[in-house]
């Protein structure tokens, strides 16, 4: 039943730190977050952990457990051997604030650049009519709990911080796809997906899909269909011709990108 687990937990702040060894009791049915809470309550009162719902619904307790990006509240201790040493480290792509807590403000900045939901202004309150089959596609993406595990694992920024400016990351490219597929959104988001948010950087290795705790098919259902829409427009013969004789015109209905271009 109960046993003692060996943990190595990253302690430190602003880039300075080390893996600290701990031995913590584990009981039947517990998840990694339970064990970190016990560590906090009994041995390391100031251990910084970000958590909230402990139910897999808020996406706060993202960390790397034995190098794998996971939610601590949904990772059961029974998935590890009792004599296995658990190495728990903060998300690698984002700057460490302290211990297991990282600065994820990059994601909030990207969120604020994406042109918002743009409905037809003539539709009055309560007058929207949408079919379930049509809302379902965007609903899948709206399951996102913003844990940023996909952002953390995506090699386009994980290994290349220089891409953080041109590339929005899977979560926010999926947000663009969500709006593009929203039955009541009238903006044309193809040009901005490619030119302003770096859809082309994605080479569909599906790492984002693999770590998504909500099991959203980010690559297959959001990014690839969005790439297809972009390609449809880019290789439209008229658009191609236009781009040869002048600056490529943007599709009608393309919204301005806040902070980037009008």
């Amino acid at each position: 039943m109960a046993y003692n687990a060996a943990l190595r937990v990253w302690r430190g702040d602003h880039g300075q730190g080390e893996l600290a060894p701990y031995t913590v009791e584990v009981n039947e049915g517990e998840v990694v977050l339970d064990v970190l809470h016990r560590l906090q309550a009994t041995q390391a009162g100031d251990l910084a952990i970000r958590w909230n719902c402990k139910a897999g619904k808020c996406g706060s307790c993202s960390m790397e457990i034995n190098g794998r990006p996971r939610l601590a509240c949904m990772t059961r201790m029974s998935t590890f051997a009792e004599d296995e040493v658990l190495t728990i480290t903060p998300l690698r792509t984002f700057p460490v604030i302290r211990d297991l807590v990282t600065d994820v403000s990059f994601n909030y900045e990207k969120a604020r650049q994406i042109p918002s939901f743009t409905p037809d202004p003539s539709v009055g309150l309560g007058e929207f009519r949408m079919q379930q089959v049509d809302v379902q596609r965007s609903q899948e993406f709206r399951k996102c709990i913003e844990c940023y595990l996909c952002q953390n694992v995506c090699h386009v920024i994980r290994d290349h911080p220089e891409n953080e400016r041109p590339f929005a990351g899977p979560r926010f490219l999926m947000r663009i796809a969500e709006l593009a597929m929203h039955p009541a959104d009238i903006a044309d988001r193809r040009d901005i997906a490619q030119d302003d948010f770096g859809l082309g950087y994605c080479n569909i290795t599906k790492c984002c899909t693999e770590v998504c705790p909500e099991h959203i098919k980010i690559t297959d259902n959001a990014l690839i269909p969005m790439k297809e829409r972009v390609a449809d427009r880019k290789y439209d013969p008229l658009v191609w011709l236009g781009s040869k004789i002048s600056r490529r015109p943007r599709a009608e209905g393309t919204p301005p990108v806040p902070g980037k271009r009008a």
């Binding site: 009162g45 719902c53 309560g126 902070g259």
Partner: protein
Amino acid sequence: MSDIERLPYEVVVIGAGGSGLRAAIEARLAGKRTAVISKSLFGKAHTVMAEGGCAAAMGNMNPNDNWMVHFRDTMRGGKFLNNHRMAELHAKEAPDRVYELEAWGALFDRTKDGKISQRNFGGHEYPRLAHVGDRTGLEMIRTLQQKVVALQQEDAVAHGDPEAMIKVYAETTITRLIKDGEGRIAGAFGYIRETGQFVLFQAPTVILATGGIGKTFKVSSNSWEYTGDGHALALLAGAKLINMEFVQFHPTHMVWPISVRGLLVTESVRGDGGVLRNSEGRRYMFDYVPDVFRSQYAETEEEADRWYSDPDHNRRPPELLPRDEVARANNAEVKAGRGSPHGGVFLDIASRLPAEEILKRLPSMYHQFKELADVDITKEPMEVGPAQHYVMGGVEVDPDTGESAVPGLFAAGEVSGGMHGSNRLGGNSLSDLLVFGRRAGIGAAEYVDRLGPKLPVPDEGEVEAAQAEALAPLQRTGGENPYSVHAEVQETMSNLVGIIRTEAEINQAMAELEQLRERAATASAAGGSAYNPGWHLALDLRNIMLMAQCVAAAALARQESRGGHTRDDYPGMRPEWRKIILACALDGDKIAITRQPNPPMRADLVALFDPAELKRYLTEEEMATVPAVPIRSASAVHEETH
């Protein structure tokens, strides 16, 4: 005090869940410079955990539904203790608030003709809950979050700065409200988690939208933020809390593994056909229909099952009684020795719906049981039991504006009291957040307008005291471990002031709490002020202790059983107690309980009920004033409103 950062605003909203964001959006739409203070990251608030839906009488599934039917259901659910004006405003305005979310991008599940679909829930006469599978709260918080972002994008164009008019302060905690010399709100003092930097938001209005008090109890479905911060801030600033004895124990949560005990199992499971059974396989809810609801609920399994396809000619299944009734029944079955192996009861959806339908309607529940308990809910029943879920009690506010007795202090959502009476119906929380969040936003904006250019000036003595109080746990050495004190408070409250209460146990709890409060006051935290959870908990403990004492004191005073307050030594509702509201206030540093009259319901609202039903709740003198008018039929009401 140069180490306090001062930030001037017109409206400061504490809390970034459903009510806080809705209030902030409204204040910003009214042209007020607004700060939103979030204890967590933006978009993580406890609202994300709401599953079932948002109740609004849109009538999309049954055209007989309208605000009057919703109002009646809400009053019945609260056992007629509700503030009738709040229940009225809520029922009338909820549909527009839902449509508004849709216009801001929310994608609710749809009906065949493309409208917003609505589902059945406990205590609601018609299918009424707008929903997105079983993750409605997430949809709501994301929509509001994205609306804030949309407003910031507009402000970037208009003012050159996205945060010119509305700014979110993430991972920031307020520890004290600051007043001016005249007792008006002048600001809010707190710290930023990341750095420990102290901040003073200087503002003439504060809207409390901090949610509930769940972390006062051991087994609770609430997230870590629910430490009663807004309740305590209001109390410390001189406002009154009402109805604090009424704590909702939602009937169905996971009971195993121990580490997830208290994880919510949505009422939608029952709304979509799930039934409760004991270890003998008996569908026992038929044995627990109280007299006040007898005529509205089915008496046989056959009738109950027919209701799902023909609700107009059959009565509702008793699994869909209000939450307080179902929670007591589940508790009683376990106590009688008919529980499940891990101390719960069985909730069965597997034998009631095809697997694919379960996956479609209840994806989060499937996921949660599969990943955390190795249970496949499409094949076997779930083991569930009651856990603390919600507090009906909160800051006493003006129903129309959300303003408290302290000038400039407003409250909306779970932190406010009155709307839900003694028991909240499922689905009425998300709608409450929207309706009263918006109203508090308007209320605060109008208060600012009335104030004119002469703003309240923070009392510097109060600011200094707040800083000293906040620093104390860091400066103390060798004090109590805040984690241990917290665990003991939770133990005391769950064991002695839980779902079933007695005078002797509450008295014991109050004695224990008195000692724990002294220990909490000496808690110390090792480490520095940057992102130090031990320090944060040591500060939250003050609020947790105050809430525990309020609940216990009010529970001791109310000598009857009603809604979320069950006294083993005073069983049954007593009509004379319906006329009484218990208010908590601070007298020095002690909690003082006073009785105040429950405002009588307006005649036009009284006329919505059958006098025969009112007789079960009102005293004989009150009944003498009720006109013997026949009930206005739902269909007649429908004619009037369409």
